[in-house]
């Protein structure tokens, strides 16, 4: 019994969970902004991938990974602005546009990799965002090993969760954002510019997803690899829903995924085929949702283009 508990709450498992959760936190936060404004963003995966590439590229040339982060934000934001124009201005189906972005990003990153480095597959190594040690925190028992020494981007992600919470629920802009996603016409009738809000939200979502990608290529790892996001954009989408379109919820869900994954990695030895262990995070998620969470209602206008007469 104690063994099991000790295993479950092992600090190394938890620290790994935090690391695995970080890209999901960024991306699911991004998704939250976009969907809160009424634009479904199934393109998180593609935006992450672009961000991962751009962070590597900029860092490669500039040397400073923090500048690389800016590059990721610009690139993610750029992909998002395509999504925004197509969905908002031209009222395309948001899911189709998202699918196209995902395909586009997959092609574009490798295309550029080849054009610039003359390799396909894996980029050269670049500098990484440093790991920080938080003086007070690191010496607290149990919590210290989990959170006291992590990559700077881990702390950035956690900080952004609270910033996002503040922005969405406390600010004027956030109030308008929520209104636009629930009932755009109502917002319009009181003079809120629905289109502008949606553009902003979608671009923010791209920036955040880009950061999530950057975490992979320049914080957790130090190079870009073809398709290195490996479906995390979709998991982030699930985390966003699991978290009920709330930043803190999204973080919780991301941590849950990260934890299940970290646990799974340490379970591959007990004699069950590896594939069944690999399924664990996904099964756990389904059970958790069915058992404890229940209904989640998306913002009412999400997925619906807004048209003015």
């Amino acid at each position: 019994m104690w063994d099991v508990l000790a295993f479950l709450f092992n600090t190394t498992v938890l620290a790994a969970a935090v690391r695995m959760a970080t890209p999901l936190i960024f991306a699911s936060l991004g998704g939250t902004f976009s969907e809160r404004a009424g634009v479904v963003n199934i393109a998180l995966e593609g935006m992450m991938l672009t961000g991962a590439f751009a962070a590597m590229l900029v860092t490669y040339y500039v040397g400073n990974p923090w500048v690389g982060l800016l590059g990721a934000m610009v690139a993610g934001g750029f992909m998002a602005s395509i999504h925004a124009v197509v969905c908002i201005r031209y009222r395309a189906n948001q899911v189709v546009s998202g699918t196209a972005i995902n395909i586009f990003a997959g092609g574009l990153t490798v295309f550029l990799l080849r054009l610039i480095f003359n390799v396909a597959g894996t980029s050269p190594a670049v500098n990484r965002i440093p790991t920080l040690t938080i003086p007070g925190l690191v010496s607290i028992p149990w919590l210290g090993p989990v959170l006291g020494r992590q990559n700077a981007m881990v702390y950035l992600a956690i900080a952004l969760v609270f910033v996002a919470h503040f922005v969405i629920f406390k600010t004027v802009w956030g109030l308008r954002l929520r209104a636009v996603g629930e009932h755009p016409k109502a917002a319009d009738t009181v003079g809120v510019n629905v289109f502008k809000m949606r553009y902003a939200a979608v671009i923010i979502s791209g920036i955040l997803a880009g950061l999530g990608g950057a975490y992979l290529s320049t914080a957790h790892l130090s190079r870009f690899g073809d398709g290195m996001t490996a479906g995390r954009g979709f998991i982030a989408l699930a985390a966003m829903i699991f978290g009920k379109w709330n930043p803190i919820g999204a973080m919780g869900a991301s941590l849950f995924f990260g934890y299940a994954d970290a646990l799974q990695m340490r379970l591959q030895e007990v004699g069950i085929p590896s594939q069944f262990v690999s399924m664990l995070p996904y099964i756990l998620t389904m059970v958790a949702l069915a058992g404890f969470i229940g209904r989640a209602t998306p913002p009412k206008a999400s997925g619906k283009p807004y048209t003015k007469e």
Partner: protein, 298 residues
């Protein structure tokens, strides 16, 4: 008339730092040496294989090389339809008179890796990270395990599969978790996922072992060695034979004996590795080459 050769790569495409890249290197060298005509294609999906093979055969290439077991069934059909075209396939067997089958004894090379890992380990635990579990990857795993057991029966092997060949993030976490469980030498056979394994090793101060191509330079001093699968050599030789006019169909196995698999030069790690370890590896190598030591492949 110039000899013309075409290659249909596996879906990993170029840049996989594995057999596609190696096959391409072999082709490039042959082009440089013999000035042959060539063409290649990087399919995105298994369903494409047959039409590419067929199109090349139709276009009259003298030799069409299929890279990877994914093309086994496609080649089976196409090689029967084009009996006058010569084909080669890497990592699979198509039993037709116009097909050369290039097989690699990855388990033998992995055996040597296992010896190195076991003897270099200070903790008594080593690790293996695979991509997606499949018979080929299993060959790497079991060869490695046998090598470990042969050298140090008490050394424990932790095995994990990432479920993907393209997820370095997960590769890194798997390596960290293996390291936390005591593994201080980790061998990967997981394509792009392995980049993460190597990064974890570099960061955590333990050893990684690369695969397929020479990955030693990816983290100098951290990558102990790489298990080379010399597809480039095989492809080069195949073309060279063709140019000389003695293309040989049938099964060509590349193992320790004919230097088709083996360890890298260990340019960055030779100094760290004690003599007796290298000696043990060499002993096993000669025994396997001589057929005195048999390595099981499953």
């Amino acid at each position: 008339d110039d000899v013309s050769v075409s290659i249909v790569f596996s879906t990993g495409g170029l840049g996989d730092q594995s057999f596609n890249d190696a096959a391409y290197r072999g082709l490039e060298e042959a082009v440089a040496d013999f000035g042959i005509d060539f063409s290649f294609v990087e399919p995105t999906d298994v369903a494409e294989m047959e039409e590419h093979l067929r199109a090349y055969a139709q276009a009259g290439y003298d030799l069409v090389i299929a890279v990877g077991f994914q093309q086994e069934s496609a080649l089976e059909v196409v090689s029967e339809d084009y009996v006058n075209t010569r084909f080669a396939i890497i990592d699979a067997v198509v039993d037709n008179p116009n097909v050369a089958n290039l097989l690699f004894a990855e388990h033998e090379g992995s055996f040597l890796v296992g010896i190195l890992a076991a003897m270099m380990s200070e903790t008594g635990t080593v690790g293996f990270v695979g991509g997606i579990e499949s018979p080929v990857i299993t060959r790497f795993q079991v060869g490695f395990e046998q090598g470990v057991a042969w050298a140090e029966p008490d050394v424990n092997v932790i095995v994990n599969y990432a479920g993907s060949f393209g997820d370095p993030g997960r590769g890194k976490e798997l390596a960290i978790s293996q390291n936390e469980r005591g593994a201080d030498v980790i061998y990967h056979a997981s394509g792009g996922t392995g980049n993460g394994v190597i990064e974890a090793a570099a960061e955590g101060g333990f050893y990684a072992i690369g695969v397929d191509s020479d990955q030693d330079h990816l983290a100098e001093g951290t990558v102990l060695t790489s298990m080379l699968k010399k597809v480039d050599v095989a492809v080069y030789n195949l073309i060279s034979d063709l140019v000389d006019g003695h293309f040989e169909p049938g099964i060509h196995t590349f193992g320790i004996a004919n230097d088709g698999v083996g360890l890298s030069e260990m340019r960055f790690t030779r100094d760290i590795i004690p003599e007796e370890v290298l000696a043990a590896v060499e002993e096993a190598r000669t025994k396997i080459a001589a057929g005195e030591l048999e390595v099981a492949d499953r």
